[in-house]
Subunit: 430 residues, 2 copies
């Protein structure tokens, strides 16, 4: 067996500790599959004293991650600090500059600075691996970039944030409102104290930007991703979705159209029969559609120490075996340059839910506005009757353009018989 | 870009033609992802004249596949003839002997002669790739052997035969009997004229034997797989399964237990809530459980020209990029040698359906026999009452040993109040 692969791990939080535990627990099995032992030679973390349940006395400690990147005995640098700036970014850049392969779980860093970092890695011919950055333990990056490499990918979509999926699942199962379920999720540790990164869709958008780059063979472009979170989803809309045969999921969807590449993260109504509609709780799923393979669905745990460590060590085994793939699946000269399609140009079907004053003429006003914007109705239902009082009215449309729907929505919202900000959820025939 | 990868394709049936079409349709995309062009330099097929919709005038034709394997201009040999013996086997052995990497979709060959072929490939240090041999377009082999490589796999299971899954799905949806649905499937081309290979579970067992070898890092061992097909599944049992909250699927299941490795293919009752219960029609699914990653589910099209070609070309792209993996995931010296566990030693829960004469004492006789074999009942239900006539009686058990259940079954079948061969289906808490 060849000489051991000596790694340096920066960041010993949940994930970093999980990686050390996995390498200790499955040392022989990992060695057999990697063709050599993988040993932790150096680490960098805030506290040296915290007990992490794994022996660290033999390893070289660094307070400065950048110094860790230059550790002469290190073959591969593993970045598990997190965050798009600061020490994580400095460490990755320093490691590549020092000619050391990098394994990272950092989706924020890759989404925002991935294009430049990939150029640096390619220019120096150094592997950069990041299976753990998307969908945790699901081999989504390997599956898409290698497993489906023979296909022209038309679309990649997924449930990419376990916190949002957990909240939406509990809201549906228990008929409860967002704020209440979020507070409970925070108490249970399923949501951060500051949850905005998850519930506003930013984390899912980071992952989608990476998936889109791999699916379509282009540098990552986070700025082009349209992002909406789940704060505005109500128990009423989840219940109405059920009546209409849909489930509400926060999806990231990237598709290749004649006009270019569209990438968006927002709540969607998906048919209850779609495989992705059944992916509940903290589970993630990635759906890819290729011209020869058809639709492939990958499902599993999207977060947590174990699944993330599984992905990080899978990357290390690839490196130990000398299995390399260009960051975006192809050399920079062969990357795709299709333009990004703005959200205004998106075409799709919509669910619109209004709270209106139950009096004659309201529906005529609303449907008149939709007609003016050449939006054709698929269905309309008013829940209950309460003359002079507020009642919910649901409208679903055939495919129309987002810009037209936005115009209609602002005019409808301005009607004095419309009592609340209208709820809009896009319908995805996924 | 490096020099093209010149491949020789043996077998130009549905799959072979699909591979040529994919390489022609996605030539530029494949070249970008492979880092070089992949060109078809030589072919071998029965008829030279058949129009396959792809130009073949420029390629070198061979009538003898073994001669094709020695074609001096060939970098990689692609075996798409099929069958565990004859020309397919001779071609693969000749190619490896000639030092040429092999890509094959041949599950029968790998299941039956894979151990010896893998040794030959390893001894000569030549890559042998076979993503297309299991679950068609689903990147199951790459996902398991590379994507989950950091995990100790406890279990791998799957819906591995689209024909059986299609037949069982139609039987359930339309409440029809096996023979009738099979005949229809044959008319539609979903089942072969001689369907035994599929419906008797042999094809699924070939694929399971390969998955088990990859999951547990051991040479493939088809002889150790217990195989039952779906001929005995009735519309009545499918309906009763539904009442009990189950669906009947033909599953291949390989698990690692204290006693060793158990591998079996047979109809199973799976909880309707399990992801795999919703995989219907010709779709396949593979479920893997790892100690760190937890459960991962991969779903997609398990057969057909497009999905199979997608998998074959993914292997070619790996080879073009120089990405290699030992056949069973580890070098022969590091392979696992746990014993195979015979089916008699299997422990699980059972569904038993009898047609009995509706008269006093019958249930007492049956339950007495189960007690004698120390099998404890979970539930018992008799459908309807018809004194003196035949009525179905369903019993479900707690976990017990297969051998005990077999003894009980033969004694129960011998009771004169039991009018038909009892139906037995294993319950899997997958």
């Amino acid at each position: 067996m060849s000489k051991p692969l000596s790694i340096a791990v920066a960041g010993l939080g949940t994930v970093g500790t999980g990686v050390l535990k996995l390498l200790a627990t499955n040392a022989d099995l990992v060695a057999a599959r990697a063709g050599r032992r993988i040993i932790v030679g150096a680490v960098s973390a805030r506290s040296r004293n915290r007990d992490r349940g794994v022996p660290l006395d033999a390893v070289r400690w660094y307070d400065d991650p950048v110094a860790l990147a230059q550790d002469p005995g290190t073959d591969v640098v593993v970045e598990l600090i997190g965050g798009s700036e600061g020490p994580a970014r400095a460490l990755v850049e320093a490691a590549l500059a020092a000619g050391k392969p990098v394994v990272t779980a950092n989706k924020a860093l890759l989404a925002i600075h991935g294009a430049a970092i990939a150029e640096l890695a390619e220019a120096r011919g150094i592997p950069l691996a990041f299976e753990a950055a998307v969908a945790g333990g699901i081999p989504a990056i390997k599956g898409l970039r290698e497993g489906l490499a023979a296909n022209r990918i038309q679309r990649v979509a997924g449930i990419l944030n376990g916190t949002c999926n957990y909240i939406l699942t509990v809201m549906r199962e228990q008929g409860r409102e967002f704020a209440e379920v979020l507070a409970e999720a925070q108490a249970l540790g399923y949501a951060e104290a500051d949850p905005s990164f998850d519930i506003d869709g930013v984390d899912a958008a980071h992952k989608l930007a990476i998936l889109a780059a791999l699916a379509f063979g282009r540098p990552v472009d986070f700025a082009a991703v349209h992002v909406e979170g789940i704060r505005a989803v109500t128990a009423l809309d989840i219940a109405l979705a059920g009546e209409l045969g849909y489930r509400i999921k926060l999806l990231g969807i990237a598709s290749s159209t004649e006009a270019g590449i569209s990438a968006r993260v927002h709540p969607c109504m998906v048919p209850v029969a779609a495989p992705i509609a059944r992916v509940d709780g903290v589970f993630n799923a990635v759906v890819a559609e290729g011209d020869f393979v058809g639709r492939v669905v990958l499902e599993g745990r999207g977060a947590g120490a174990g699944p993330t460590a599984s992905a990080v060590v899978a990357d290390l085994i690839d490196l130990a075996r000398g299995r390399h793939t260009p960051v975006w699946g192809a050399a920079s000269g062969a990357l795709d340059s299709a333009p990004a399609v703005p959200m205004d140009r998106h075409r799709g079907a919509y669910y619109l839910r209004l709270m209106v004053l139950d009096r004659p003429g309201v529906i005529a006003d609303v449907t008149g506005i939709l007609r003016d914007e050449s939006i054709s109705l698929e269905a309309m239902l008013q829940r209950g009757r309460a003359p002079g009082e507020a009642v919910p009215v649901v409208l679903t449309t055939h495919d129309c353009e987002e810009a037209a729907m936005r115009n209609a929505l602002s005019r409808i919202g301005a009607l004095d018989s419309v009592l609340e900000k209208p709820a809009l959820i896009r319908i995805e025939p996924i």
